[in-house]
Subunit: 649 residues, 2 copies
Amino acid sequence: MPRPRPAVPSATTCHQAVGPVRHGPGAEAAFAPAAVEVRGGFWDTRREVNARTSIPQGPGLLESAGNLRNLRLAAGTDDGEFQGAYPFVDSDVYKWLEAASWQLAQAPDDALAAEVERIVSLVAGAQQPDGYLNTWFQLLKGGERYRDLRWGHELYCAGHLIQAAVAHHRATGRTELLDVAVRFADQIDSVFGLPGSGKPLDGVDGHPEVETALVELYRETGERRYLDLAGYFVDRFGHGLLGGEAYCQDRVPLREAADVEGHAVRQLYLLAAAADLATETGEAGLRTAAERLWAAMTTTKTHITGGLGAHHDEEDFGDPYELPNERAYCETCAAIASVQWSWRMALLTGGARYSDLIERTLYNGFLAGVSLDGEHWLYVNPLQVRDGHTDTGGDQSARRTRWFRCACCPPNVMRLLASLEHYLASTDTGGLQIHQYVTGRYGDDRFAVRCETDYPWHGTIALTVEEAPADGPRTLSLRIPQWCREYRVRCGETTYDQSDAPVSDGWLRLARTWAPGDRIVLELALEPRLTAADPRVDAVRGCVAIERGPLVYCLEGVDHPGGGLDDMVLDTTRPLAVKHRPDLLGGVTTVVAAGHRRHIADAGWWPYRTASATADVPPADEPLELTAIPYYAWANRQDGSMRVWLPTS
Amino acid sequence: MPRPRPAVPSATTCHQAVGPVRHGPGAEAAFAPAAVEVRGGFWDTRREVNARTSIPQGPGLLESAGNLRNLRLAAGTDDGEFQGAYPFVDSDVYKWLEAASWQLAQAPDDALAAEVERIVSLVAGAQQPDGYLNTWFQLLKGGERYRDLRWGHELYCAGHLIQAAVAHHRATGRTELLDVAVRFADQIDSVFGLPGSGKPLDGVDGHPEVETALVELYRETGERRYLDLAGYFVDRFGHGLLGGEAYCQDRVPLREAADVEGHAVRQLYLLAAAADLATETGEAGLRTAAERLWAAMTTTKTHITGGLGAHHDEEDFGDPYELPNERAYCETCAAIASVQWSWRMALLTGGARYSDLIERTLYNGFLAGVSLDGEHWLYVNPLQVRDGHTDTGGDQSARRTRWFRCACCPPNVMRLLASLEHYLASTDTGGLQIHQYVTGRYGDDRFAVRCETDYPWHGTIALTVEEAPADGPRTLSLRIPQWCREYRVRCGETTYDQSDAPVSDGWLRLARTWAPGDRIVLELALEPRLTAADPRVDAVRGCVAIERGPLVYCLEGVDHPGGGLDDMVLDTTRPLAVKHRPDLLGGVTTVVAAGHRRHIADAGWWPYRTASATADVPPADEPLELTAIPYYAWANRQDGSMRVWLPTS
């Protein structure tokens, strides 16, 4: 029989992916996620595809991949054999449930709601009487619970179950899945603890994930035990319980770590939990470590797309400044984990830089992970595909794939898109902070603004105050993106620019006593630009990237005569032109640049030559117009070559 | 009981690693390996270390890693459990036996001979009555022979056993191991064949290796069945018997392949067999394919060190021009396999370019695989180790290791060093071709020359005819290395240079009626040079490498104040200086270059900037003398950074 579920405090009836944030002693900031409704524009289109195609296709794909049958097998209601290559296949179901729940919070959908309840009941049916649930172990490893924590992913799956349950409860008010999650969390809490705690096992899961989930379960239920358990897990990484490997975040305790390392997604989920814990407990040590590691990551280990993880091998962060192009791993899940961590850092600190990285990641490294049609996916997100690329297929293909053997990314994309509005704005007692610009409504019934914009295609962001508190001034904070060098803001009759409305820590802060109907128009200059990297990024020496606003651009072979890109050179002395192409890739603004095809002398059988012999041949022979498209839209037409970084000579 | 061994024809009593070469109809060339004695100089020193340290330590390492006990377990003469992580652990023993056999052919050594016979008897004891032998399958997979050809490595191990047996027989005249090999080869021949052949199984091994071995067994025994079996195996790759994966060379038949692909060592061993078969059968199609694939590999997929294999993931060749530095895989075994393949191409065609690549590989990508002390190894051979590199340890470490879990490379190095003299010269009816320059004696009792040289440190190669046929002219062919732009040759009283003694297809051909005492002095200009890559090699854009003669150079952090290399820039306008350092790394010639440390402005948290903002700061602030050492000698002092390719601005 289910244990009684802790009473859910009324304060937690929010619909946010990251719940209401409590603040323990010592927490400096007091930012909470603000409500946002997305009502049109760029992201609304992507979310429509998510709602109409990606999410509805989920149950069919999970059925044919065996995930749902595994649940029925565990429940004893179906016949057959376990299907799936990994012990974490249940988590695909949970991520889909989370995505579908957030989707239901946006728009009623009886068919989807029925699917959700059907699958919730499959999950509930598979749960063991004491709360444990993992079909791989139940069906294939009878009785061997928690014996292979390094690779077993049991707590990882529990984490995704808990996050799905929190979403389901927040979105629908229903408690069936939350009951399952609470029972599982209690089972875990009865097993794991420090030596001397009376709990039988001192251990952590090789793949962090349960930690953020337990903090969310604490927020949702008010049950302090879950927060403590999350803290225990975070503390126990880095003490050799998993053999001391960096891969599973066990080489060094987080508070002592100098750099991000190991498997990128594992590192990022763990750091998201650290930020959650620092927020809830106010612990300065954890906050300092998280800030230090975030800076180390962005300074030396982040691709221009926001992509993270340099190595295919072990899916890990490489060395500082090791940021390859064709072998960039940049797992789609790592981009999602980065958004989740950065958002928690933004709430913890109020720092705009965290949302700068979120913006860059959302528009580039994350969004490339799903096709424009919403049914083809990339697991890895390279920054280059060479002419003559030989693709081995499989999960790590540079070609879009219908589904993966390791299908972690697609439902992860679905849940982030379905909950995207939760990552766009925050509030504190002084006002409202707009982190990302979308058409829609920001805020609540005390202080709210309407936003209209064609961002990222146009830089005009028109804000109208809809609700304003009469009791005094509030600060409306607008994030001026890190890439933006020129902006103007018109507030009522007055226009400011960067000289008289300076940005402080990334924020343009407008403090007024606002009244409904007040208008603010922010203009961000969106000139296309050429971007170079720190010279220690060896992979892009002598190259530039084209960017415009938050978008990183790339060339695709299909847009260029002959289809080859590897002999192409960009002429940096000629101006870039902007051309909006409503016909192309669902409507994109392209950037047109001047370049040429390099004449490469026949090298014979050996491609290395005395340096003076390889001086460039004058480039006049084959001038070429280069057409750059937004990186997120690549690989939507045909297989072929692609480059983000373009040689300049 | 052992089957009677085929009689060994007297013609095969040579001591070469690649045996006497027969020529079927249509074979154009008639080159055979020539006898060479190495009597001093660069390679003699390296071989001394191999003989004194590496080879003698082999049995102890194979004992502690479990390989020898596995043989005793299979023989029923020891207790315990199978030890080793891979089904190919037996091959480590066979490669060591091959190395030790070649070593015995050079110098009598009673202790080593006794060790060899002890281990040969362990191998013989482990063989099953019908000839099958693989301890992994015998001990762990009772009865499951040849069921997992993709990964089982049973024929791969058989190949190394056969090659060891051929070496043992050629070197010692003893037949114990050859008997074992013949029984196993006959067992394999009774199992594998085309459908309709009456053999039960149509298949190939996922890791080519048995094919070259069977050709050698044919050469050693005269038994044509082994040549036919090798041909059958080579033909059956690329037909989906292994699932069609490029990884195991099963995507496309060799004769139709346009490029090298998949796992590098697998590809190279298969191509060595193709060259052997083309030599023995004269089949033009196989020769054409091998020539085409060799050119594709050297033109677009070979590192400047001769290293092969761009990807850690699946240990495979990447795309054309995908030649990363820090993630160069360049497995030591791939360098060895490349030498083996190229040598067979040289014998098949007489082409000097094959020995150009052999020279480059031997002095760089291969020799870096073993430490100067002969007891520390590299499995992968990167061209860069960054400042702050985090090494995960394990087999793919960028730090030298005492032994590996997958210990394929160390005994492979031992066998190549112990048989190195077999790869240095060839003969045909017209004369003698010197492919590599070492101090020693080339040729036989009809036509022989003595060579004295300090190559590669000095470019003077002094040759004295010791034996000459009186019956007319012979051609002494000297390979002029591909890197060499200036040379002089003095022959008797006359001196020629590149203007009047032109190189034809890489060879300087001296046709004379020679007499004992005739002197030829070849002078190769050894000015240090800066080398640049084809512009499609993205990884080294804006960089040059320092080379001198056949040696590729690198910088190591330990030679530079502060130990960091990542901010270092080479000044290409200043001359390179040469400094011989007898005290350093066993005595090396260093190259000293002018450079500076780049001043890099603090990038804040984001390392990408508008291109104009990253223009170089004038370099005057921190000039620095750069000391380059030969690449083969890196990682012999302390862990730290290393670079082959040096930024120039």
